[in-house]
Every structure is written in C-alpha cells, then in structure tokens.
C-alpha cells in the first residue's frame, strides 16, 4: 500500500527543475498503482508494464504542464491509463481481463485464510465471478474504486470519464452485482 509521500510537492518541484533522482522517487512511489491500473485497462501484464513505463517517461516530458501543489497521483494515472488504452486498442483485445484471487485453489482444498476477512473464501469467489461477468465499464469502475481503492477523482482521470459518469456507473454496477449475488446477501 503506497501512501502519498509528504514531500510529494517538493519532489515534483525538483523534478520540474530537472532533478532525475527526485523523479525516480516519484516513480517508486506510484509505479505500483500505475501498473495495476494499466493492467486492468490493457488486460495483459506485458502491455501494462509497457504502458506504465511509457507513461512515466511521457509524464517527465510533460511535467511543465503539471500544476504544482495539485495531487500527482491522478495526473500520472491519467497518462498511464491513456497509454494502456492505446495498447489495448492496438492489440485489438476484445475479451476482458479475468481477475483471480490468490486464494483460488482447486475445489476441495481449503484456501489459506488471510487474517480477519470480511467474507468467506467461497463467497469471495462468487463475488469475483460476478464482477468478472459485468460489462467492461462496470467492471472497470468497480475495480478502480474497490480493488485499487482509487478516489472518485482518480477513477475519473484513469478511465477518462467525468466524475458524474463515475458515480452513475458505479451505482449501476453495484446494483447489477446485488442482483447477481441475490438481494439477501448484500442488501
């Protein structure tokens, strides 16, 4: 889990002045979330790595456009996500990414139970299957908001939607999931 470094504003400012080491720190801080966001969108780890790398290189060149003091994360996510979309388009990928859980194991074996989970393994698999079956835009908004824990603003930046669209699609996506999981499970 990456936090927003306290000195982010200063790192950005130094990077703007051409300080490569400062930019390296920013890459370190955000490569994880950037890669995963790209992975959700591009649908392959190789393309995601490519997109994230390219995004960070392009962001360096575009730093002058970044307004000092505003959060860096939505900005870099937007650039990386664009790269990821380009790669997905170029690859002509249609079938969407199927997310899996670490705990997914052949039937019969007990999944290793992580500490204090809110739901049981079986229920978790069921829920993931339902997410995977959602249409692309619903799956993406669920993944950004809950799996990557992006803010609404970051989700809007990454997906290239307006915030209102993020809200409405998220609400519809949750509705769809409730239907699939059965009203009684998640009222």
């Amino acid at each position: 889990m990456e936090g927003r470094p306290l000195e982010e504003t200063e790192l950005v400012e130094r990077a703007k002045q051409g300080d490569e080491a400062a930019y390296g720190d920013l890459v370190q801080a955000y490569q994880g979330i950037a890669f995963r966001t790209a992975y959700l969108i591009a649908g392959s780890a190789a393309d995601a790595e490519d997109a994230a790398q390219e995004g960070f290189v392009k962001a360096w060149s575009a730093l002058h456009r970044f307004r000092t003091g505003s959060p860096f994360r939505p900005w870099i996510l937007q650039i990386v996500a664009n790269e990821a979309r380009n790669r997905r388009r170029a690859a002509g990928r249609r079938a969407h990414l199927t997310l899996r859980t670490v705990a997914a194991t052949p039937s019969g074996e007990a999944a290793p139970s992580p500490e204090a989970t809110a739901i049981g393994a079986e229920q978790r698999e069921e829920l993931l299957a339902a997410v995977n079956e959602l249409r692309e835009e619903y799956r993406l908004v669920i993944a950004c908001r809950y799996f990557l824990e992006l803010s609404e603003e970051e989700t809007a930046a990454a997906l290239g939607w307006r915030r209102g669209t993020v809200k409405s699609r998220l609400s519809r996506a949750l509705g769809r999931l409730r239907e699939r999981m059965g009203e009684e499970s998640y009222a």
Binding site: V27, E49, L63, T117, I119, L128, Y146, F147
Partner: protein, 244 residues
C-alpha cells in the same frame, strides 16, 4: 459502508495481481538517453521556453499584456528579450502559419528586400523562401530548411529600422547567453519556444507556432539575423559565421 462495498474491498485485497515490475531504472535510463536538445525541449517545454515574437507595427506597445513581473531585459537592434516570471499559455499549432509572408523564390526575395540577402553557406540553399514587406519594420526574408510544416531550421533576416520589431519573452529558467558573431553582438537562447506576431495590418495573430529548437539572434550591419534549429550553440555559431 454497505456490506457489498466492504466485501468488494476485501476481495480486492486477495486478488492475484501480476508481479510488480521495477520501472524506476528503465524510466530514468530512457529519460537520460533522450538527446540533450530533445530533453531540453521536452523538459523545459515549450511553454516555459521562449515566447512571443511579434513583427510589425509598434510591436512593443501592441503585444499582449505581460503577465508577471519583468525580471530582465536584453536588447539587440530591433529585438527586445524580456525575462518574465510567467509566460502566457498558448495553444500549439504545427507549421509556421502566415507569419512568414508570401512564398517566393530566392531571386524574388533578393529583388524585393531592402537589404542584401545573405545565405548561410553551412546550410546551403533554402528549401523554401518567404518574403514579408511589413511596414514599419522593413522587409523580412525567411528561409526554411525542411518544410514549413516540419521545419528543420528557420533562418530569418530583417532590417532593424525601428527599435522594437521582434519582441520575445523568456521564462526565468530559459538560458539567454550573450555571444558575438563576426564581432557583432548577439544572443543565444536555449529552449523551445512559441511565438505570436503582428501581421502586416498590425493585428495580432492568435495562432501560436511551435518551432524547432534553440535560437541564435545576432546583428549584422543594419540587419538582425535569426537562426532557429535543434542544434548546439557551437553549431549555430558556425552556421551564423557562414552567412554571406
């Protein structure tokens, strides 16, 4: 938080993500590998580098309002360079727009210009020649190497009849270095830039043009010459010295 949303968060924690690649080294390597001039262009970018080139009528008073304090001045005949705190932000357009005037042949330019047109021998014959008779600035001749949509170098010469024909703004971190060419004063400006300009009717054209690179400005007799290309200072000085 409703139960479903909690469950989704919980699920997010147990997803099988592909291994996280280490990007920092590759990113830094690619940043460093970029050619120096490109790096300058991209890093300092375009907006901060150089800004406003205004040609023609009473340029100093007619150019758009300066934003922020003026930090420094540099003068050449017909040219004022101002270092300002903040440059105007401008939309980008490729190509050179109508700034250059009419496309002519080199011979036509020689006939129409009210000064002796020189050609930088190191660059050779230009690919395109433009002429602008912009009173009161006197005439201006521009050579393009490459094409006007994708110029490799732009060489401009004009008669400095009035004090302020060309008006530039540079950002605090744009490099402005005094140089001499054939014993005459000049300035080397490092960084990409935009310009806007006044047309021959004295109207400010809003089109802003992204050019190719660094700029050398220098005086030669009664004229001011300007070379812009994605080249080093040494190379620019060599080309300038070859103008004849």
């Amino acid at each position: 938080m409703p139960e479903l949303e909690l469950a989704l968060r919980d699920l997010g924690g147990s997803l099988d993500w592909p291994g996280q690649p280490e990007l920092e080294q590759n990113v830094l390597r690619r940043i460093r590998e970029a050619p120096a001039s490109r790096r300058l262009v991209s890093r300092r970018a375009i907006v901060i580098a150089l800004a406003v080139l205004a040609v023609a009528v009473g340029a100093l008073f007619a150019v758009p309002q300066t934003r922020g304090a003026i930090l420094e001045f540099f003068h050449l005949r017909g040219v004022t360079i101002q270092r300002v705190e903040e440059l105007p932000t401008v939309p980008v357009q490729t190509g050179l727009g109508t700034f250059l005037g009419d496309q002519v042949t080199l011979e036509q330019a020689r006939r129409q210009a009210d000064f002796d047109v020189v050609v930088p021998g190191a660059l050779g014959e230009p690919d395109e020649v433009y002429f602008q008779a912009g009173p009161p600035a006197g005439s201006m001749v521009s050579f393009i190497y490459g094409t006007s949509d994708d110029p490799r170098a732009l060489f401009t010469q004009f008669a400095g009849r009035v004090d302020e024909i060309i008006f530039k703004k540079v950002a605090p971190d744009t490099k402005v270095e005094a140089v001499t060419v054939d014993g005459q004063p000049g300035y080397w400006l490092e960084g990409a830039h935009f310009f806007s300009y006044l047309d021959r009717h004295g109207d400010i054209q809003s089109e802003q043009v992204r050019l190719v690179g660094n700029v050398l400005l220098w005086e030669r007799g009664t004229r001011t010459l300007r070379l812009e290309a994605d080249i080093s200072k040494e190379e620019a000085l060599r080309i300038a010295a070859s103008a004849d």
